[in-house]
Amino acid sequence: MLQAKEFLQEECKNVELSLKEALRYEYGRSRSKDFYDECTYRLQNLKRQIDASKASDLPELEEYSTLLSSLSALITRIERSHLGEFSWPFADSLELLARAVCQGVNGKDEKYGAPIFAISAEGGLEAYELHIEQGAVNFNFKRRIFNIVFPRTLKHHVLLHPILGHELGHAATTVPSMDDALSRMVLTRLEEGPLESEAKLTSWIDNTPTDSTKYTADMIEEMLYSWTEELFCDLFGLMLFGPSFVAAHYSLLSAIDPRGFDLGDEHPPNMTRFDMLLKAVEILGWQKVPKTGNAQLRVGVERFWKSLNHAPGAIPSWATICTTEQIQGALEGLKSILQPLGVAMYTPPAKDVLEHLVESLHNRIPPIGNSVKDDGVPELTDLDFRSILYAGWVEWHGQAQSVAESARMSFSDINRLCDRAILQQLAIDLWKKTGRTGTLGAD
C-alpha cells in the first residue's frame, strides 16, 4: 500500500515520463517547446511542494493531487493530438486571432505572460472547445496554457471551425483588461430585459414551451449568468469571423439540437441564439447582395443569407430575448474594443476579392491571393483567411442546382479547397515576409 504522499511522488515521476513521451510527436514549431518548458516548470514546482509537505497534511495533499491530476490530463490530451490530427494551417491562423484577443485592451495581459496555445483533437461534434486555465492555481506558473480543441472527424472541415470564435469570447473574459472593458461596454447591454433579473428570466421561460417550475431558484440564477455570457460569446464569435460564424453556428447547433428548443443550465435555446445572430447580421449590413454582373457571386450570397434566414423554419416569437437596440449597443461596444486590436475584427472582403475567391472555388482551385500577370510576373496579395471561409460558404450555396449532382462539389471538397487555400496563403505570407532570405526564397 502507498500513502497519499508516496503515491503523489510516484505519480510525479509518471507525469514526467509522459511529458517526455510527448516529445515523440510534432505539435508545431513554437508550440512544442513552449508547452514542454511550461509543463516542466509546473511539475518541478509541484514536486518540490509535495516533497516538502507533511504526510499527515491531508488537505494540502488533496490539493496537490488535484493539480497533478489536471497537469497529467493536459499532457495526455496534447500527447495524443499531434500535427496531422487537426488542420494546422487553420490552427495557426486562429492562434493569431487568439493572441490579438488575449493581449488585452492595453496591449498586454497584466497578470500573466503571453499564453501558450496548445491544439488538440477529440471525438464528437461537441468537441469544439477552449480549455482555459484560470488564475486560481496556488502554485506559480509562468504562462497560461489555452487548449483549443477540434473535433477529429472534422479535421478538414474548416468552414465549421469558425465556431471557435465563440470559445475565444470565453477566453477574452479571462483577460483582466478585456473582461473589464467587455463588462462595461457589452455585457451590460445584454443584461437588460429578460436577462436583467431572475424574476424576469423566469417570466420569459414561462412564455416558452418549457415549464419554469422545473427550475429551482439556484438554477435560474445560474442560467441568468451563463446565458448572458453565452450570448455575448456568440456576438464575439460573429465579430471575429463574420458570416462564416453564423453558418458554422447554425450547422453545428442544429445537428446537436435539431428542434432548437432545449433550455440548458448553461446555454440558452438555439432558437434564441439564432434570433440574436440574425438580428446582429442585419444591423451590420452583411446581408447586402453585392451589385455585380457575376451571377455566381450574386446567387451565392443571396442563397447563403436566405438559407440562414429561413433555415430555422420560423423562429418562434418567444425566442427573442434581446431587442435590436440591445444588440446594436452590444455590437458597438464590441467594435470599439476589437478595432484597436488589429487583426481581431472581421472585415468583409472587397467585392472584387470575393468575386475572385468564389470564382476560384467554382473552378475547383484553392481560393488564394495569387494570379499571373504579363511576362509571368505573379501578383501575391494579402488575404484574410476569414474571407476564404466566407467564399467557401457562398460557393456551397451558389452551386447551380441545374448541374447534375455528380458534377457539383461536395461540402467536403469545398472545405478541403479552403483548407488548402489557407495553407497556400500561409506560404504566400512567408514568401512576402522573408523575400529571398528565408527557406522559401532560398531557391
Binding site: 494546422w88 509571368g376 505573379p378 478541403r416 500561409l426 522559401l440 532560398a442
Partner: protein, 211 residues
Amino acid sequence: MAALSRTQIVERLKRRNLVISPIFSSQQIGPCSVDLRLGNIALIVRARGLSHVDPANYLDDKASGEYRRELGRRQKLERHEIQFSEPLLVHPGTLILVPTLEWVKLPKDLQGIVTARSSWAREGLNIATATFVDPGYKGIVTLELSNLGQIPIALYPGVRIAQIAFHEVSGSRDSDLGRSQFNMSFEPSAGEIAKDDSSFIPTAQPKGVSR
C-alpha cells in the same frame, strides 16, 4: 509532340486555361516548364508495416472483407505533416510520397510531364517515377522521392524540387476524361496496384505475407 514554350505557358496561366497555383516568382517559370515546390505531407514506408508489396493485399476477400485491404493501406505508410521551415530528411534507400505545394489544373488539351530539377538530381534526389499528369487533372501532384546518394538529404516545404512541362494533346473529348474531370486529389495516397487486374491475382493471402 511539342512542349509548350514559356510564352505559351504564361499566356495560359494568365487566362487560367492552365492553373499552377501559387506561383511565387517569375523565375519559377522556365523556358518550357514550371518549377514545383515540396508540399507539407510525407508518406513514408513504415518499417513494421507490410512484409512485402503484393497486389493480392490490395483486394478484398471473402474472409476479411475490406479489413485486410484497408489495414494494409494504412499500415504500410506513416503519414507526417510538416510545417514550413521544418526539415524532411530523405535517407538513402527510402521512398517518400509527397504532394506539391502547388495546385495543378490541366485543361483537356494538355498533358503534364513531371521530372526532377537537375540541381536536386545531382544531389542524388530522384523525384518521379510516374511522370505523366493526365489532361483534365485537378489537384496536387504526387512526387515519389527517393535518395540515390549515400548521405541523407534535408528538404523543406516550399523548396522547388520538381518541374512540369506540358504537351498538347490533340482530339481530346470530355468523354475521354471520364470521372477525372470531377475528381480532385488533395494529398498523396497509396497506389491501386491491383485495380482491374483481379483476374490475374489470387485473393487468398499468399504464403509469407505477415499482414
